[in-house]
Structure formats: structure tokens, C-alpha cells
Symmetry: C3
Subunit: 355 residues, 3 copies
């Protein structure tokens, strides 16, 4: 279904190959397949991934949310990841891959058909690479890339066109740096994806303010990005002022996010677009920040906390709490504020909402 | 008046040439010119555009808003676009171009004097263009541009320095891609202006979240940009997850805007700076979004709706409605909320507003 | 302490050299040193800068805020900037540099040890420079830089990799343009730092709106950036529509800020990350804008005014006033609004703040 100009399909794959991505039971027509039935099912070939409503006989789909069970029952998909409790809703001829986490397994399957850009071990003659830089095996370095002195890049990395990697930066394996990205003063891990137009390692906003003018305070820290991190297009991450700025393993950052100096982000955090985090603030693990939220400097957001979109957080948030509003409060209080305000202003009926 | 280093004046033009841009009547001293008077007026030469207060005898200006009628009455402009109802306020010797839309006609005139960057049909030897790419007639491709495999670019396009056009991207005619822009997985129309530093086509923020880590879901859609669209500097537009992300004909997007995957924007929308639109949200035609507004995912903003700056929209908005606040409500309710809050907090007089 | 891969230490320096940066008295063990004691102290060598808690015998540190006086009393720093009133809290063997502004003097000292990137007077053979451009003495121009026709660059400037300086732009002395920055239609002063990924001089968001489509109004002004300005990564500054956009001397702008056409920013302003300023708004001198604040167009923020983070300013603010909220009001009123709202919604106790 995907436009082959952009997405070369690596398939087909046998059901056996796809089943190997994660433990599943194979069911059909209400029966779990075993023996010969299972063997012959495993030999069937799958040609593409597709959503329930567009999948055809040779395609594999998924259902995770029961609210789509009608779509599921009428799907033409030849193969489908599902939860055991939805087996009875399946179309009669669909081969079911039954798992506790259908969406996750579908994602892994889609990655197999359409892997993220693969390194071709080609270094463009139009890349400018300092002679002291060390480039690992099987890297792709595109035209216009500029790599500075003593840069170290691991194996199977991709540096896209016109990206700039400044002196001394170190990058792990299987990491992708997007086009026109600019990186300095950073230690970057493996399996990291840094999207196009990202700016990492510039010095933070540090001045000794004064009537005689604002004196720049040298920013002597770095940016440390752990493995499996993804950083969205146009996002900016300032280096530390003395300590480092840290992005923890597995955290995902969306586009146009601002991260100030000395910020520490824990593991597996999710930071959506246009969030701003001021200097020296610390996030625990698995923190989720909604779009356009803003966090003051020098505060702590404990692990598992959630912040609603557009909230303004000016104080610490305890573990697992959900906050919203500005100044941010527990989310139920924020919702109550909205309700109270609405009541206060609804005494007279409001004839029209157009103006 | 414009700095000729940056803005070469393409004039002078005769009044006849400028009148040809749109239907107008020519008036002077309260009379509509006809016959010989009109002919001789049409032969007069106009040398530049200028605002009312800076215009001189050889310049053409405009008045659209009656609140500037004093400025108009005292203007030295030799030529001026105006509405018929303002004719009586005109200086005695000014030649009036009477039209129903003076500002629009002034804009077209200013474009004639100072056209947007024109293609010179020069392809820099320092551009790196894949041999399989097809470049149309009369294109300008500046130094440092990187154009990938099977890219198709129409006629009279300009690709500015260090822009990156990735494999398979298709671009129409008379389109301008700004410096350091990065574009992939996109189908772009004609007469489109994409400003510098724009990022289009990166994969959206799609993950199967889980304790075992967030698994990336391949994003298999594209970005489709229709004709006459303008996209501001630093703006990011993610490609679709399976369906496409769509920017409708004639829509204008300002700087540093974030547009998530699968978003559909209708025709002639106006989206001001730093707006964020989350995934799968749909705008009708002629929707106007104020600066820093944020829209949740999977909602519908119907045609003609207006959203105030900084609003947070979490639910559908009906056609033609004006909304504001967070959560966004009909704008008169939002204004009432502000008034009520102000009253609640104004019981004691507030001696000073400095602190 | 800084990672020498990224931060080459220019020291050591004698205490005499560091004292020369600003007038100080030298004290030790409660005595101001004079004569021979002073002379021998001045000969001592200082090897690095460090915060109080990490400084060692050969390092120089500072204390400005009395709340850190315990850290000060136990510091191993051999040298320390301090205020006279904190002399009594000093460790017995530390040489004190007593000044009215310890942080400012520490910043100047840190700059001496770790100067901002220094020009090496090397012009990369991989930079593409128009033959009509004038480049001053001792400039560094890195690979992939594209410099257009009639550009003028002063002495001791650094243009980092893949930056684009378009036709006619003029730049003063000791100015640094970051990697992948893109600049056009601009007059830039001396001692300016423009960070990576910045977009300056693109045409602003100016259209004659209409049912027949939005007609682009040519933007015929420039961007004028005075001396000693710093502009953060990813920030966008549109050129004027006819008048110029102006950034006043010594103003500091953080990352991902949007500045519309015709905006005038006074001297020594501080504009933090993700702020948006709409067209034709004017700031006086020493205005401070908190992160993610938004300012409407055509308003005036007088000198010394402060705006809280995330505020929405839709009207003028008087000199020296502090405003907050949306619509922004005097900050004490805004705080009272928060308190009143909290009361209104706290009638029932709130058992848990997690949800």
C-alpha cells in the first residue's frame, strides 16, 4: 500500500519468519493450530502490512482496541495480530497471531517489511571528513556532511546530507543523524535517531546579568545521549554549564522541543512537540509531557508523572501523578477549575458560538 | 525606498501597465478620467511603491482602512489605490486607482516592482544532484544543494543553498525551496514557497509504548503539499503513518509550526507562528489559527473557524465559530471568563502594577 | 574539570592576570593583603575554574548568593571571588578576590580560561564564496559554507560549517555565525553570536487576505542586528515589511524564538526560549520575557518590564511593570487569580493527586 518510491517493501516473509519476532499462538476459525495445520500455516507467505480496513488476503493487520472489533470481523486481512479475548470476533478464514500485545508485535512486523533507513556502507566523495576522525564499518555518510577533528563514529551509522558533526563528538553504533542536523560537545549512544534540523550541544542561555551588560558565562559541560533515544526535527538541546545535559536510555523526544542546560531526562520518557524544559530541571523515568508544556528550571518531575499539554509546571511533581494547568495542579483540580469557570460564566444562556 | 542591495526595483512601469493588474477606474480631483485625460494619465510612469506617509510624486501607495484618511489627505503620493468612498478625501493632484480591494491591488503592484526571487536557470557546479533526478527547464539550484535519486523537479524552480531533497520527492513548477530546508517522502505542488530551515517528511511520533520500551511504528505515508502553499522558516511537517499528511491549496503556514502525522489542512487556511497540531486532526478550508495555539489529535476544525492565539483546542469546532481559551470555548465565553476572574480578584484596589 | 576534547584550557594564569580583569581586593584569613604579601599572592598560578563543591587548591571559584555560604566555608578552592560581607565565612587558606559582583568577575575569568571559539584565519577550500564578497582579516570559514554576492564580513569572524550567507548581507567584526544558519537581507554588527540553525531575514507573514486567495505582500525591509547580540539555536527573525526588524545592542535571545516583521527590540533585553513576538511590536530596553510567552502585534512593552513565562500579552505594558497570565495583567493580580481559582475548587478535600 505504501508508495514504493519512498518505501521499498523488504517482503514477502513466511508466517514462520514473522512469528519468530515474538511468541504467538496461531489460531483459525476458533481453533489453535497444531501439528500439520500449524506447519502449513507457517509456510504461508505474507506480502505487506495494512490496517484492518485496507488489508487484503496476502496482508497482515492487527487489532488491539476492542472498539474496532466490527472492522475486525469484516476485515479481508489474511493474517492478523489479536488478543485472545477477540478470537471469537475474527473473520472465519483469517489466520490469527494471538499475543498479549498485538500493536507492539505489529510494529515489529512493520519494521521488518519497512526497516528504518539502512546503511549502505557508502561514504560520499562530497562529504568533508577530517583526517583525524574515526569512522566505523559499514557507515553511510552522505554528500555535504562535515565531520570535524577527532570525531568517533561507530559501525552501521548513517549521517544524512549536510549534517555537521563538530570536533570531538562521539557516536555509537546503528545511529542515524538526520540531514542538516548540527551536533557538537556531545557523547551519543547506539541505536539513536536524531532527526533533520536538530541542534545539539550549543552553549546554553547563561549570562551574568547586569546594567553594564550581560556577560556570557562559558558553558563547559556536554550533552550525553544514551542508547535508543529518538530526537525530533528542529529540537534544540543545550549542553551543560559544567555538569552535563543528559537524555536517558529509550526516551523519545518529538519536534521543536527546547531542552535547557543541565536538564536530566530519565529513561523511556515521552516528550511531545514544542515542550520547553528550563535549565537544571530533572525528569525521572517514563515521564510523559504533553505538547507545548513548559517546565520551570531547577524542579523535579518524578518517575511516571504525566503533564497535560500546554501546562506550566513551576514546582516538583510526585511520582505517578498527573498534573495540568498553569500553574500546574493535580489534574482533577485543574478540570474542576475549568468546570467552575464555565459555571461562573454560563449564568445567561449563550445564543450563538459564532462571532 | 527599499535597500537596493537586497531589493532590485524592476520598475518604472506606466500607469497603464499597473492598471492592467486589476480592473480600476482612474480618478483625479473628484473626476473620473475619460478620453484624452485618461490616455495621458495612463502614459505616466510610476517608479516605486511606498506607504502613504513616505510616498512621493513618482510613487504609488494605497489606502484601505478609513482610519488613515488624514494620512491620505496629506500624502504626497502621485498615485494611490483607494475605495470609491474615500475619493473625496484624496489630495487634489493624486491620480486615484479606484478599486474594491485597494490592499490586494497594491500587493500585486508591489510584486511587479519587487518579484519574489526569480530563477536564473543556473545550476551550481557545487550542487550534488543524483544522475537519476529530473530537473525542469529554467531552474536555479544553488551551491551545496543535495538532490537524491529519482527526484523530479518542474520548471522555473529555485532550490536555495544547502537544501536537501531526498530520494523520490516530486516538486511542481515555480516552487522555491529555501536554504538548509530538508524534504523527504513528499509530493509538492506548483507555486509553493518553502522557507529556509523547514523540515518536511520525517517520520512522525509513532510508538507502541510499553514497559519493555517504546517500539517505533514505521510511518508509511507521505506529505502532500498542494499548489500555492507557503510554509514558514523552521516549521516541521511529519509524514503520514499510512495515510498522507496533507496541506491544502493556498494555505499559508508561518514559522516554527509543528504539524503531526496524518493532519489534513484544507484550502486557504492561515496558521500563525508556533502553532502545534497533533496527529490526525483535520482542518476545513479558510481556518485561521492564532499564534502558539495547540490542537489535540483526532479532532475536526470546520471551515471558516477561528482560534485565538495560545488557545488549547481539545474538541471539534463548528464551521465559522470563533474559539479561545484552554480548554477552548466560544470566544465570548472565554472573554467572560477573563472578566469574571478579573472581578473576583479586584475586590481590593491594587495600588501598583510594578513589582 | 571540563572535557578537554571539547574545552581546551587556555590557563594557567597568575592571580595578577586574573585580577587585572576587574578591580578587586585580595584577602586571606580575614586580612586584606598588601605589600610583599600581596605581591607574592599575585604571583600564584591558577589552573582552572570550578564551582565551590568541586574546586581544588589550584582552582578559582566564586560565591555570590549567601545561601551557599556553608558550601563556601567548606570549599577546597585555593582562590575565590566573593563579596566583602562574606569574607568572614571564608575557609582560612583561600585567597579571596573581593568584589561587588563576584559572578560577573567569575564569568570573565572563565572566559579567559575557555574563550568562545577563536578564529584561526583558515578559509576552507570547501566553502563556496562569491568572488564579489569581501572577507576581513583573520576569519575562519568552514566547509560547506555558502557566501553570496557582495557579502561583506569584517575581521576575526567565524562562519561555521554549512551556514548560508545570502547576497548583500553585511557582518561586523568578531561575529560568529553557527552551523547550518541561514541569513539574508540583514545588517549584522560586531561581537554578535548567531547560533546554529538560526533563520534570519526571510520574508514575514504578510498577505492581503481574501476569498480569491491570499496575495503575498512583498516584504521590503531588512533585519538590523546591533553589536553584542546573541541569538539562540533554531530562532527565526523575519525581515521588515518596509521598515526594518531591529534587535538592539546587547540583547540576548534564546532558542526557538519567533520574531515577526517590523519588531523592534531594545538594548540588553532577555528573551527566553520559545517566545513569540508578533509583527510591529516594540520592546524598550532591558525587557525580560519568560519562556513560551506570546506577544500580540502592534503593542509596546516599555523598558524594564518583565513578563512571566507562558503569558499572553495583548496590550501595552508600562515601564518596570511585571505582568503575567493570559490576557496578561499585573503579576500580583495574576497570582491572586490563581489563588481564587484554587479556593473555588478546593471546597472538598482532594484525597489523591495521582490519577
Amino acid at each position: 500500500m505504501a508508495d514504493s518510491r519512498f518505501f521499498p517493501n523488504q517482503g514477502p516473509f513466511s508466517l514462520a519468519q514473522l512469528s519468530a519476532l515474538a511468541p504467538v499462538e496461531i489460531w483459525c476459525a476458533g481453533q489453535m493450530l497444531v501439528g500439520k495445520d500449524l506447519e502449513s500455516a507457517m509456510e504461508q507467505m505474507v506480502y505487506d502490512v495494512a490496517p484492518l480496513d485496507r488489508a487484503e488476503e496476502k496482508h497482515i493487520s492487527f487489532i488491539d482496541n476492542p472498539k474496532y472489533q466490527d472492522l475486525f470481523s469484516h476485515s479481508k486481512a489474511g493474517f492478523c495480530f489479536t488478543r485472545s479475548k477477540l478470537i471469537e470476533k475474527a473473520p472465519p478464514n483469517t489466520l490469527l497471531l494471538v499475543t498479549a500485545d498485538p500493536y507492539r508485535h505489529y510494529a515489529l512486523t512493520a519494521q521488518k517489511f519497512y526497516p528504518h533507513k539502512v546503511a549502505h556502507a557508502s561514504i560520499s566523495p562530497h562529504a568533508i571528513i577530517d583526517s583525524s576522525a574515526k569512522i566505523g564499518a559499514n557507515c553511510t555518510i552522505e554528500a555535504g556532511v562535515v565531520i570535524g577533528a577527532h570525531v568517533e563514529i561507530g559501525d552501521n551509522c548513517i549521517i544524512s546530507a549536510n549534517a555537521v558533526i563538530a570536533d570531538g563528538v562521539s557516536i555509537g553504533h546503528h545511529t542515524h543523524i538526520g540531514a542538516n542536523a548540527s551536533i557538537s560537545h556531545s557523547i551519543i549512544g547506539s541505536n539513536v535517531i536524531i532527526h533533520r534540523g536538530v541542534n545539539i550541544g550549543q552553549d546554553g542561555f547563561g549570562f551574568a546579568m547586569g546594567r553594564a551588560g550581560h556577560v556570557k558565562v562559558p558553558q563547559l559541560g556536554r550533552v550525553v545521549i544514551e542508547d535508543d533515544v529518538e530526537i525530533g526535527a528542529g529540537t534544540c538541546i543545550d549542553r551543560g554549564s559544567g555538569p552535563d545535559t543528559l537524555i536517558g536510555q529509550g526516551s523519545k523526544i518529538d519536534n521543536l522541543v527546547q531542552i535547557g542546560h543541565n536538564v536530566h531526562i530519565g529513561k523511556s520518557c515521552v516528550i511531545t512537540a514544542q515542550v520547553g524544559i528550563a535549565g537544571s530541571t530533572r525528569l525521572g523515568d517514563s515521564v510523559v509531557l504533553g505538547g507545548q508544556a513548559g517546565l520551570s528550571g531547577h524542579i523535579k518531575i518524578a518517575s511516571g508523572a504525566k503533564v497535560a499539554a500546554k501546562s506550566g509546571v513551576i514546582a516538583d511533581i510526585p511520582a505517578g501523578a498527573s498534573y495540568g494547568g498553569y500553574p500546574a495542579v493535580p489534574i482533577i483540580d485543574w478540570h474542576r477549575q475549568s468546570v467552575v469557570l464555565a459555571k461562573l460564566t454560563k449564568r445567561k444562556p449563550n445564543p450563538t458560538e459564532a462571532s
